[in-house]
């Protein structure tokens, strides 16, 4: 089943409401106002904010694909829902056995990569019932690569990156640790 965004967002001009697949109304907030707010709220508040957005995103995407959905199908529906929120374009990369999320054109910039990581953690946990930890690996212009891993593996990669390791070498070390 392909992703169909038709009639996904409803603007009620009489009542001055925007509705997106549900009774809860939406608010259009500029991205440069949101980021300072999140920065002032702290990482844990920003993470909870992002997980909440991701849970709602994952629920709507999971209504269209099941447990045996292919990566193409998941990226289409999950990326489609993320696109309706204005969070950029989503793609998947597989480096070995590692799943990498590539987000291009996010309006939040490099400072919003943490918020994106929290959104997709919530989405995957709600849509696929997996507890995941997403680590930002790198940033190139308007695209960011985020590693999907376990909590333990995510901590090792953060340490390696903090120690100055290249994200490619960190992935190689992660595979070596897994193979050994």
């Amino acid at each position: 089943m392909r992703f169909d965004p038709s009639q996904a967002v409803k603007f009620d001009m009489g009542r001055g409401r925007i509705q997106l697949d549900g009774p809860v109304p939406r608010v259009l907030v500029p991205s440069d106002a949101l980021l300072p707010l999140l920065d002032s709220a702290g990482p844990e508040a920003a993470r909870d904010f992002g997980r909440r957005l991701g849970t709602e995103l994952g629920r709507r995407a999971a209504e269209r694909f099941g447990e045996g959905a292919s990566p193409e199908s998941v990226v289409e529906h999950l990326g489609g829902e993320a696109a309706l929120l204005g969070l950029g374009s989503l793609a998947f990369e597989r480096w070995g056995r590692a799943l990498i999320l590539v987000i291009t054109g996010s309006p939040l910039g490099a400072s919003g990569d943490g918020l994106l990581a929290a959104i997709y953690e919530g989405a995957l946990q709600r849509g696929l019932r997996r507890t995941v930890s997403i680590v930002p690996l790198m940033r190139e212009a308007d695209s960011a690569r985020l590693l999907v891993a376990s909590e333990a593996a995510a901590g090792k990669v953060r340490d390696w990156l903090a120690a100055g390791e290249d994200w490619g070498a960190s992935l190689a070390k992660l595979h070596g640790g897994a193979s050994s």
Binding site: P71, G96, L99, L128, S150, A178, S179, S180
Partner: protein, 319 residues
Amino acid sequence: MSAEGQIGRLQSLLSRIKRNAALPRAASAPLVAAPAPVAAPSPVAAPAPVAAPSAALTPAPAPFEEEVPVSEDLLLDDEIVDITEAEVIEEPAAAAPPPAARDELDFSDLDRDEEEPPVSSRRSKVASSMIEALAGASEDLEADLEAPLKTPPPESGRQITAAPAAALGSEPPLRPTTEQLGQTIDLDDSVSDATLELDEPLSEVTAARAPEPEELEIVLPSRASSGAYSLDLTPPPEAHEDLERHRQRAAERSAPSAAAEVVAAPPPPPVASELRPEVYARPNLSSDARPSEFVVAAQSFAPATFAELLDASLELGSG
């Protein structure tokens, strides 16, 4: 006595010997038997078994005893040279009676016993000349002496020895002797009417007669007639036509076969086909075969669903 006197006496002795030899033997026979009663009436007859072995062991003296009476009667005492005294000393020991019987001995004949020659043979008188030796030899031959079975003692003197061939018993002569040639044996006529049949020698019978075959047995041609025939033989007149047909058929058969040999290649000998080698060759490799394998995680892992990819990524770093 001078030598001439001795020669004269010997010549006279030789003449008497010849004269005595010419006398008939029957007249001297009683003289030979005469000495036997000398020992018979004596009571010494009991120990005869004791003396018997000595006589048996020395069979030679018996012929000499035949001459003794003759010499006693015809020869003078001084002409007899008896040198058997040493033997007499030994003989009584063997012929001596046991002590128990010695008391019963009659010594009345003692003087006469002393005059008799000993039981053992005496040594022959040594011939003093060649004429005497020849005369002694002729007497031995005329006496028809037998060869002793055992070797006599050396003092027994000259003995008659038989020829080896006669002792071993030579084969009887195959040809009849001259005495047998003149004799004719007349056979009596047979009572019955049966006729005498002489059988043939076995070797001649087996060579002449071949085994007769049985009733159902096939007689194979003998070796002499197998495949051999005389070149001079001519075929029978009725076989001329068959022979011509056979020759014509053989000529026709040989002509096409010669042509076929030119056209068709000779078939390979059966032995060559059996010796064809069997090759065990390595099969060709297909183009899809990959001699090497590069083990890469990305190549060996190809998730079909997003859930598999998510789980694989979550397992990284878990060890």
